[in-house]
């Protein structure tokens, strides 16, 4: 069949569709399997603790430093714009709301995906390539319970804590730049922030966002690793896919969540 015929093109479309449907179905079954095996992660807490160490503690430096710098840049840029309207005491409000509602969960999620998600995928992918997963099955150890579930839960626990730390450091950075460097009154910086930020509406919604992103990133990371082709190139492709897919799903999920959380109320 000639490669430029209509039937050839249609066949390619059909194959691509079937491939993605199959992948989607596999991903859904895999998610259910991980959830079914999740009690194992809680029963063997030491495994999950180890994963919290690898995905959470080792991500601390990048999260803290980027949070600090994001907050400082926000303060400088925000001051530049706000001062045109004579509203520079609102700097605290601007920084706190943008960090707690959006930047904290989203940027921490993106960093988490590239720092911890890629590592999880590479690790599981390499275990598969070197047939460690098959060896476990031979020894009647379920790799879903022993390898996948602890990493999944480690990610879910780490992500909200990392997002909160990111926002906190960002607000601290904005305080350093706004109050210490530029010289905004500290009282109006904190006071305006406190009167504008609502616990239920802003902070709880931000935490919910970060939990959702944690679930998404961890699930994508373990899925891509478990589903990687067992070759060196396959592991590298899977790692790339983890970063791309989780970044895109964080941004898309963030839009959907924002529509439901912040639409209409108060407007």
């Amino acid at each position: 069949m000639r490669p430029d015929s209509v039937a050839w093109a249609l066949r390619r479309v059909g194959r691509a569709t079937l491939g993605s449907v199959e992948r989607l179905g596999f991903a859904a079954r895999f998610s259910v399997a991980v959830l079914v095996h999740s009690p194992a992660a809680l029963r063997r807490l030491s495994l999950t603790l180890r994963e919290i160490y690898f995905s959470g503690v080792l991500s601390l430096v990048i999260i803290l430093v980027s949070g600090l710098f994001v907050g400082m840049v926000l303060a400088l840029q925000g001051y530049d714009v706000l001062t045109r309207y004579g509203a520079n005491e609102s700097l605290g409000v601007l920084v706190a709301l943008s960090l707690v509602r959006e930047l904290g969960p989203v940027v921490a999620g993106l960093l988490f995906a590239s720092r911890a998600g890629s590592a999880i995928t590479a690790e599981i992918g390499l275990m598969k390539t070197t047939e460690q997963l098959s060896a476990m099955e031979m020894m009647a150890v379920d790799p879903l319970a022993r390898v996948v579930a602890p990493r999944f839960f480690g990610g879910i626990v780490s992500m909200p804590l990392l997002a909160a730390l990111f926002s906190t450091l960002g607000i601290f950075g904005a305080y350093l730049v706004g109050v210490k460097l530029i010289g905004i009154d500290a009282g109006s910086f904190w006071g305006n922030m406190q009167s504008a930020v609502d616990f239920r509406y802003d902070i709880v919604n931000g935490i919910i966002k970060s939990i959702v992103f944690g679930v998404a990133v961890s699930l994508i990371a373990v899925f891509e690793g478990y589903n990687a082709r067992p070759t060196a190139a396959g592991v590298s492709t899977a790692t790339t896919r983890t970063v791309v897919a989780s970044s895109l799903s964080i941004l898309a999920l963030d839009f959907v969540l924002t529509v439901f959380m912040f639409r209409g109320v108060g407007a």
């Binding site: 160490y53 503690v57 909200p160 804590l161 990392l162 730390l165 926002s167 406190q194 009167s195 108060g266």
Partner: protein, 166 residues
């Protein structure tokens, strides 16, 4: 890695994370002073609420004493019915006047409460009798323009003066 150092680091991480959440809740979200205090409710009817929004502050002498909880339209009187949640510890007299004010030209819209000299206090669910509606800038401007247009035939200077006073 040694089990005890791993535990230590995870413990440090989780403690830091929870401390960050507490910081956001208490220092940024100001959960302590707002608290879960259910407060009590007051109702006020306004002819026009202007740009008043849900969760807008209720202030007395500039101090935030509560928040706007609900805004509805009374289908019979065509008035806006505003429910305010006032924190416990603040009491207002029966002859309190509620007015809708704006802080600055572009600032937020809030409800100001001015207490009178009555000895009885408002209780939960009470209705504030005297209210003052929001000042709608467009109406003021059009009033001013009409006054000027009407006054131009007679005494222009006096009309301009009275229009400005409104």
């Amino acid at each position: 890695m040694n089990r005890s150092t791993l535990d230590l680091w995870v413990g440090v991480f989780v403690t830091l994370g929870i401390a960050a959440i507490l910081f956001l809740s208490l220092k940024v979200g100001n959960l302590l002073t707002v608290s879960h205090d259910a407060g009590y409710r007051l109702i006020a009817e306004f002819d026009n609420i202007g740009g008043l929004k849900l969760r807008a502050p209720v202030k007395a002498a500039g101090v935030v004493v509560g928040r706007v909880e609900a805004i509805q339209l009374d289908p019979k009187t065509y008035q806006a019915v505003v429910t305010m949640r006032i924190d416990h510890g603040y009491e207002f007299t029966k002859d309190t006047i509620a007015s809708i004010l704006t802080s600055g030209l572009l600032g937020e819209v809030y409800i100001g409460l001015d207490s009178g000299g009555d000895t009885k206090m408002l209780a939960n669910g009470d209705r504030i009798a005297k209210t003052q509606s929001a000042i709608v800038l467009e109406k003021l401007i059009s009033q001013f323009m009409f006054d000027r247009a009407a006054g131009n035939g007679g005494a222009p200077a006096a009309a301009a003066g009275s229009g400005g006073a409104k």
